[in-house]
């Protein structure tokens, strides 16, 4: 019997739970465990990590038995581009102010959509940046810089 692991939904979900659970237990070893009566900071995370690992094992084994596949396709392109857009916003916001940060975010993330029309994205970026100014800076009075010199 050949066990198909590719796109095995439960196998990977279980694996992820196990990795996180074990990681939590290992890291929590650095914190005093204490006793049931006087719990140290390591007690609760260790127990939770253990529970997670146990659940992870169950899900993993179930995956091996049932072999249920992940539905649909992985949206690698939208994932990379939206996350990149968000990261770019943070990076530029700290250095060059909100306007450029938002324009960059709009262009990068819009590239992750199905259709990319330069003019449309430009208009969207301008309109929504103005809206962001209106809501956050004018309306809520947040102390953001629009540009690096302001």
């Amino acid at each position: 019997m050949k066990i198909e692991l590719r796109n095995n939904k439960d196998f990977f979900a279980g694996l992820l739970f196990i990795v996180i659970g074990v990681l939590a237990m290992v890291i929590a070893r650095n914190y005093p465990f204490g006793s049931t009566m006087r719990m140290g900071p390591g007690y609760f995370p260790t127990v939770l990590g253990g529970i997670m690992t146990a659940f992870g094992l169950y899900v993993l084994v179930r995956g091996l038995i049932k072999g249920e596949k992940i539905e649909g396709v992985w949206g690698i392109r939208p994932l990379i581009l939206t996350v990149l857009g968000v990261v770019a916003f943070g990076f530029i916001m700290d250095r060059l102010g909100m306007v450029l940060a938002l324009v960059a975010m709009f262009f990068i993330s819009a590239f992750g959509g199905h259709e990319f029309k330069f003019k449309e994205v430009l208009i969207l970026a301008v309109v929504m940046t103005a809206a962001a100014w209106g809501i956050f800076i004018y309306g809520l009075g947040l102390p953001y810089r629009l540009f690096w010199w302001s």
Partner: protein
Amino acid sequence: MELLDNLVLGFNVALSLKNLVYCFIGVFVGTFIGVLPGIGPLVTIAMLLPITFNLPPIPSLIMLAGIYYGAQYGGSTTSILMNLPGEAASVVTCIDGYQMAKQGRAGPALAIAAVGSFLAGCVGTLLIGLFGPPIAELAFKFGAAEYFSLMLMGLMAAALLASGDMVKAVAMVVLGLLLGIVGTDVNSGMARFSFGVSELSDGIGFTIVAVALFAVAEIVKNLETTAKQEVFTGKITGLMPTLADLKASFPAIARGTAVGSFFGALPGTGPAIGAFSAYMLEKKIAKDPSLFGKGDIRGVASPEAANNAAAQCAFIPTLTLGIPGSGVMALMLGAMTIQGIAPGPQVMTKNPDLFWGLIASMWIGNLMLLVLNLPLVAMWVKLLKIPYRWLFPSILMFVCVGSYSLNSSAVDIYLAAGFSILGYIFIKLGCEPAPLILGFVLGPLMEENLRRALLISRGDPTVFFTRPISLGFVLVTVLLIIFMIAPAIRKKRKKVIAPTDKT
């Protein structure tokens, strides 16, 4: 009468010009965003959450509540007109609502949905006012052991009832609890899981997790398929339901309200199960059940009333016990905590203006919904034509600027990016993120109460079984687990949950 005095206090708070304006903004923006196809209440609240933090507590919660039922209502408009439910609770509304729209009776369907929601909202508001104080009274008797057992029950109920895969849902709750305790431990002052990052020693921002899981990860999921967006092309002519419609609807609304209120107040069930059960009930008691699914108005009236009643009554455990029953309520509770209000029974005594003001504003908000939605329906319909490629970068704009506003630090943005990737992976692996946020909100509280309970009992874990109230919660938890594992019920549950899995 005490209830009357309290309601007067509440209306005094809610009717102040400032709060009315925030309530209106919340309802309006909530409906506006809720109507947009593919965007449900969770996304809407998550993306607007950071904005409300810059307001004082009362207006911010009033606005958030407004956003919630606005978005819920907006979702039913999309369901009726386009057969596109924004979230699980409006899935059943699609069945008969969309059929009515196809038959050119979209107007009456929308009108009945609005009226049903309003009536159910009124009852829901009254129920919170009636049941809130006695429940809070009871909760004052709770010690650490009772709170721990109660949270355990709440979390298990939420994981077992509301989500597709129970085992994964429980694992997600545990992951949420783990993420919740990241940061400085209150008892020992030790920074846990902070990996030397100073920003992390304050804990992971609740908003960061919320926007990442519910807004960004959701966007990526929506973008993965290249399916063409359906566009509403029909026309809405005449809103007035016929006399026969009204006669059929009112009893259905009453039944839906009762069913919805019941499920809403229970932890873990909420609007989706409420709406579904209400629909099932209508079908069962109807003389001619074959009419359902072909545009029967009762199939719109009852679930719409039920989901609004449930949305309203979900505030009962959240406000009186500090135990959120659903993802949305976890967001509300997180918002309260960030505003410096410790959730729990003391909210009612310490902040009566907040508690009663919020309740009164819900009634006012429901009235606004009715007034807003019926005349403006033509405008909402226009919104349905906005393509998703304009929407998702705009949602990201709110996410980015909003998250940045929390600490004016890019670290939060990077964290949000990281959680978005994790969130998307979890969604693909069939693990729903809503239970995670419940665990996340309750994590520190649960640890604190567990510690305290065992300290008082000198390390004796039987304390959870010897105190009667605590034993009650533990028993319910055990019963829940048994019911869920029992194969016969499992099969039945699958049938009930199946249509809500699509969201």
